[in-house]
Assembly symmetry: C2
Homo-oligomer: 319 residues x 2
C-alpha cells in the first residue's frame, strides 16, 4: 500500500475498498494494493434512506469506474446492518478477523459495480456484536500477524477484543463514549461539564484521582456521578475539573470492568491520539507494568480490506 | 390537615404553603393546618425567567389574598436554587429536617405577600445537595416522629437519606432515573427500550434476573448495558424484556451502591406506586428480610410545611 497517485490517467480503479460506518463513508480506489485515490462523505449508514445506498456510493466512486467493466467493491461496517444496504450475517466467535465467510452481495442496478459486504462478528454469551472492527483488527494483523493480546478500541462504543492465533477469541462492547456524551451534554451534569472545544486536554491529575476513586469503590458508579454537580455548587469546581472527573470515572468503569481481558496481556489501543492517551493513563494508573502500544486507526480498515481482497482473488495474492 | 373546603367565603388564606420544584409549582391555601384550596401549574423553577417568580406565584395564589393584609407564604424546593427566585443557603448535615435555619425572604413588590424560602441541605463529603426532599422528610416525621431508618426517594435523582433522632444524618443522590431516561430514549439502546406508554408494568422475572445479574458483578455496569442491544439483535428479545432488564440493571446498581445505607435498617420508600414497587422488588431480591414500607409523596410536602409553619408561629403550634 502506498500514497495516492494523482496522475489522472491512472484514476480508474481495478477494485474499490469501502469503510461504511454509522456516521461516515470512506472509499478508496485501488490498483492491487496501491492506493490511487480516496473520497469520503458524512453519508454514514444512519444518514442513508432505504433504497438509496447504491446511488450514495456511486456519488463518490463514479469517477473511478470504467465503461463495460465490472469493478469489485469490498465494504465493511454498519452498511451490513439490518438498517443498512443489505443485512450481512454474523460470524460467531471464535473466528478469523479476515474471513470471507458470510460475505454477501448487495443488490445493484449499475452493471459497473459488484458490491460485497463483509459479515459482522457475534458472540452468544455475553451477547455482543460488531460490524467493522473485525476489519480494523485484520488490518492490525497485517502488520503484526502473530499478535497475541488484547485490542482496545475506544469511541462511542468501546470494543475490547482478545486476539490469539490470528483469531478473535471473545469481545465486549462498553458504552463509555455514549454515556460521556449523554451525561456531559444532556444530564444535570451538563451545567458543569460543557467544554467550549478549545481545550487541548483534560486535567490529568483530576482524571487520575477519579480513576483511583472508582477503583476503590467500583460498585458505586451511579451513586458517585451526582457529586460532580454538588462539588461544583459547594466548592466552585471548574468546568475542566468536573469534565476531567466525569471522564476519569467513566473510563475507569470501562477499564476496571474489562480488567479480566487485559490483565497479564499486551494491550493495543486503536483510537485517535487524545482518547488513546486517556485509556493508557487509566490503565497505567491501575497497573504501571501494563504493556501498551497505541495505533492510529486511519489506515487499518484499508489494510484489512486489502488482506481480504487478496484472499478473495480480487487482487493477486503476491502483490 | 383536612380536605379542601370549597365554601367560597372561606377562600382567603391565612397562610400559603408552596412546593416549587424544577418542573412544577404546587400551592395550598391554608387556615391553620386546614387545607381550604389548592392550585398547581407546570411553571417549575426551570420554566420561570429571572425576575418573573413573583408574578408566576401571584397568578396561582391571587384569589386567596386579602386587600391590606400581608399573607405569609412558606416555600420549599428548587425555587431556592441559584437559578431560582433567590438563593437560599444550605444547612450542612447532620441537621434537622424541619429547621428554620437559613430561611430566606424573597424580594417581592406586592405588599400582600411575604415569601420565605426554606434552606436546602448540603453534605461536604461525599459532596451532595438537596432542596425540597428535606421538607418531605419533615412531613414523614410528622406522622412518625420517632422514625429511625432510611428514606429512599426514587425519581429523576434518587435520594437516600439516613434519619436518626429526627435528624438527617447523611444522604446520597443517585442518577438512576435520569440515566434510565437518557439510555432508553437517546442511546443505542433506544431501539429496544421504547415502550409505547400503555404498559402497566415491567416483566418482573426479567427485572429480578437483571438485579441478580448486577449483584453478581457490580463493577460491570457499563460493560453490560450493550448486551441489551445485542440480545435484541441476536435473540429477538422483546421491547418489554429489554426495558425490564435495563430498569433492573440500573435500579440494582442504585440499591447495591446504597446497601451500606439500608442494610439492617428499616426502609421507607417515598415514590409513586409503580416506581416504589420496583425499588422494593430490587431490595427484597437482595435481602428478603428487608423491612420496607411505602409512602405516597403527595401530602408530605404540605405536612412538612405545616410543621415548619407551626415552629415559625405562622400558625398556632397547638392547632
Amino acid at each position: 500500500m502506498s500514497a495516492p497517485n494523482t496522475n489522472a490517467q491512472n484514476l480508474k480503479a481495478d477494485w474499490i475498498a469501502v469503510d461504511w460506518g454509522t456516521t461516515s463513508l470512506r472509499c478508496w480506489a485501488m490498483h492491487g494494493t496501491q492506493l490511487i485515490a480516496s473520497a469520503q462523505s458524512p453519508m454514514g449508514m444512519s444518514q442513508v434512506a432505504a433504497g438509496r445506498f447504491e446511488q450514495t456510493l456511486l456519488a463518490l466512486v463514479e469517477p473511478w469506474l470504467q465503461a463495460n467493466t465490472c469493478t469489485p467493491v469490498l465494504a465493511c461496517g454498519m452498511v451490513g446492518a439490518k438498517q443498512g444496504w443489505i443485512e450481512a450475517p454474523y460470524q460467531p466467535t471464535p473466528c478469523s478477523a479476515h474471513s470471507q465467510v458470510g460475505l454477501i452481495t448487495a443488490p445493484t442496478a449499475d452493471p459497473r459495480i459488484n458490491v460485497r459486504i463483509i459479515a459482522g462478528v457475534s458472540q452468544a454469551s455475553p451477547a455482543d456484536v460488531m460490524r467493522g472492527e473485525e476489519t480494523l483488527i485484520a488490518g492490525l494483523l497485517t502488520n503484526a500477524p502473530t499478535y497475541n493480546g488484547v485490542v482496545c478500541m475506544p469511541g462511542t462504543h468501546c470494543k475490547w477484543v482478545e486476539v490469539r492465533n490470528a483469531t478473535l477469541q471473545r469481545f465486549n462492547t462498553v458504552l463509555t463514549g455514549e454515556l460521556f456524551e449523554l451525561l456531559s451534554t444532556q444530564s444535570v451534569l451538563r451545567f458543569d461539564t460543557q467544554l467550549d472545544g478549545n481545550e487541548k486536554s483534560l486535567n490529568n491529575d483530576v482524571f487520575i484521582s477519579a480513576v483511583q476513586e472508582h477503583a476503590a469503590t467500583p460498585d458505586q458508579l451511579t451513586a458517585t456521578l451526582f457529586s460532580i454537580r454538588a462539588q461544583s455548587l459547594l466548592n466552585n469546581n471548574t468546568t475542566m475539573d468536573s469534565t476531567s472527573r466525569l471522564s476519569g470515572l467513566l473510563i475507569a468503569a470501562d477499564v476496571i470492568a474489562m480488567q479480566h481481558y487485559w490483565q497479564d496481556k499486551p494491550i493495543t489501543i486503536v483510537a485517535e491520539a487524545q482518547l488513546a492517551s486517556l485509556y493508557k493513563l487509566a490503565i497505567t494508573t491501575l497497573n504501571p507494568e501494563a504493556y501498551i502500544s497505541i495505533t492510529k486507526m486511519d489506515a487499518l480498515a484499508l489494510s484489512g480490506l486489502c488482506l481480504l481482497a487478496k484472499q478473495l482473488g480480487v487482487i493477486n495474492a503476491t502483490s
